[in-house]
Amino acid sequence: MATLRGEQGAVQFDATGSSNATIVGTRSWTLTITKETLDTSKHGDTFRSFVGSMVSGSGTVELVYDPDATGQSGFLEDVVTTADTADATFELFTTGTSSGTDSVSFAGIITDMEITSTVGELVIVSASFVTSGTITSNLE
């Protein structure tokens, strides 16, 4: 396994979950996967024990804003989807864009979007999401 650099990565997204496409202008992404634990310690135990429980995820995607860049508008406008059924699909790649390879995929909801415009700097969009349902990890 080779060491990777961030520029090898990519984010693919589809607001309706039908066909993911690369969001052009993605600067970075993060993903945190959390597994809850249930305490299974019994009376008389001297060491606490646990079993894994529900798994969930959340993260961020940062874009160099360009309204004409493929995939950007659909991504950042998904935050205003009301009664969101979590039909949007994400695939976050550590390298390449080959679906199911070096990536994590899931359905999710964009929970917030921030667009920042500062004099002398590029306009940046930062969006946060939570996963919904199965998280498929292919970080082999």
Partner: protein, 141 residues
């Protein structure tokens, strides 16, 4: 998309100053790698475009990706020695106004620096000031 054509960017920058200084009062303008022998006590401008380090802007390697390409244009303004800075700074204003926060063909020009008077003109025998304008463009691959 394609890699940035730096020569095209240079030509865009140079065409802008050439057009401006070709208006009255006309001022000769020289660029990198051009021979020029100024006449004594004349006014002239040297325009030097240089590109600096590029940096990653987005993910995606050689496709669907973007880089930031930066550069600087240095204008050396020469006017007659011993006659004060007025005529020199008038040229400086023309140049400054030409690039000040302008966006041309996808090139973003920043607020200019100068005109700054130089204590040691090169070549000697003139009053020299300098206007510098940094710029950047986004390369889309």
């Amino acid at each position: 998309m394609a890699a940035a054509d730096l020569n095209e960017i240079r030509a865009t920058i140079e065409a802008r100053i050439t057009t401006e200084l070709n208006k009255a009062p006309k001022i000769p303008v020289m660029f990198h790698n051009m021979a020029y022998k100024p006449t004594a006590n004349s006014s002239w401008v040297q325009c030097l475009t240089t590109f600096g380090a590029s940096e990653y802007l987005s993910q995606g390697l050689t496709t669907n990706s973007r880089n930031r390409v930066v550069g600087v244009v240095v204008f050396n303004i020469f006017t007659a020695k011993g006659r004060g800075p007025g005529s020199n700074y008038k040229i400086g204003k023309r140049i400054r106004d030409l690039y000040n926060r302008v966006i041309v063909s996808g090139v973003f020009f920043d607020a200019p620096v100068g005109p700054e008077a130089l204590a040691t003109p090169a070549p000697e025998g003139y009053f020299q000031s300098q206007v510098r304008v940094t710029f950047e463009t986004i390369e889309e691959l």
